[in-house]
Amino acid sequence: MRVLYFAWLRQKIGLAEEEVVLPESVRDVASLIDFLAARSPGHAEAFANRAVVRCAVNQDFAGPDAPVRAGDEVAFFPPVTGG
């Protein structure tokens, strides 16, 4: 799975993207965050407050219950502030 990070999530994690191999336990966005948060202190810090983390699965906004699979492109970022 390709995972992308934007804005301060990218800065805290220190990566704009990474390839991850999903364990069996990861079925949805919430369990993917559990898995990613354990990868490094930067990941843990980025995902510390999940209320301010937004997600997109295959470039559509997705909530914590949205399913994720190996071939998906999943992105994490703060609430948007364009315009």
Partner: protein, 152 residues
């Protein structure tokens, strides 16, 4: 006709308005909104602002917002341009323009587009302050409230 662009280069408002209504004489009203970089935020002087986006998803999200505006109002033309990269105070960040036979449609569609863009298009602003340091701009409740007006 709709035009959506994400670009680093500045936009030319006059050229965009000309393109919006080119060859059309059935336009009655043109609405435009331009968002610009302010020189201060929270009492601190802003030296620059950097706009980040999600290539691919951002263009899709803008196209979906424009399609929604076209479904809601009878638009003859619709343009959304959003800049990315590093911008300084006074520079344009975003241009939204609509043309319709009717004034209210152009005014409402313009307000709708900027309100929804602000809450639904993946862009993030990072401010650099003149006294050093910087911060990611936080999302504002009033932007959510403005966008919520259009939910139906």
């Amino acid at each position: 006709m709709a035009r959506v662009r994400v670009q680093e280069a500045p936009f030319d408002v006059a050229a965009e308005l000309a393109a919006l209504t080119a060859g059309r004489t059935d336009v009655g009203g043109i609405g435009l909104f331009v968002g610009t970089v302010r020189d201060s935020a929270g009492g601190r002087t802003v030296a620059a602002m950097t706009l980040e986006h999600y290539p691919g998803m951002t263009e899709r999200a803008l196209a979906a917002i424009v399609a929604e505006a076209q479904a809601r109002w009878p638009l003859i033309g619709c343009t959304v341009i959003h800049r990315v990269g590093r911008l300084t105070p006074g520079e344009g960040i975003v241009l939204v323009a609509t043309a319709s036979a009717h004034r209210q449609a152009a005014l409402d569609a313009t307000a709708f587009l900027i309100d929804w863009l602000k809450t639904r298009a993946p862009f993030w602003k990072h401010e650099e302050f003149a006294d050093g340091g910087g911060q990611w701009v936080a999302a504002r409740d009033e932007d959510d409230a403005a966008a919520a007006r259009w939910v139906r």
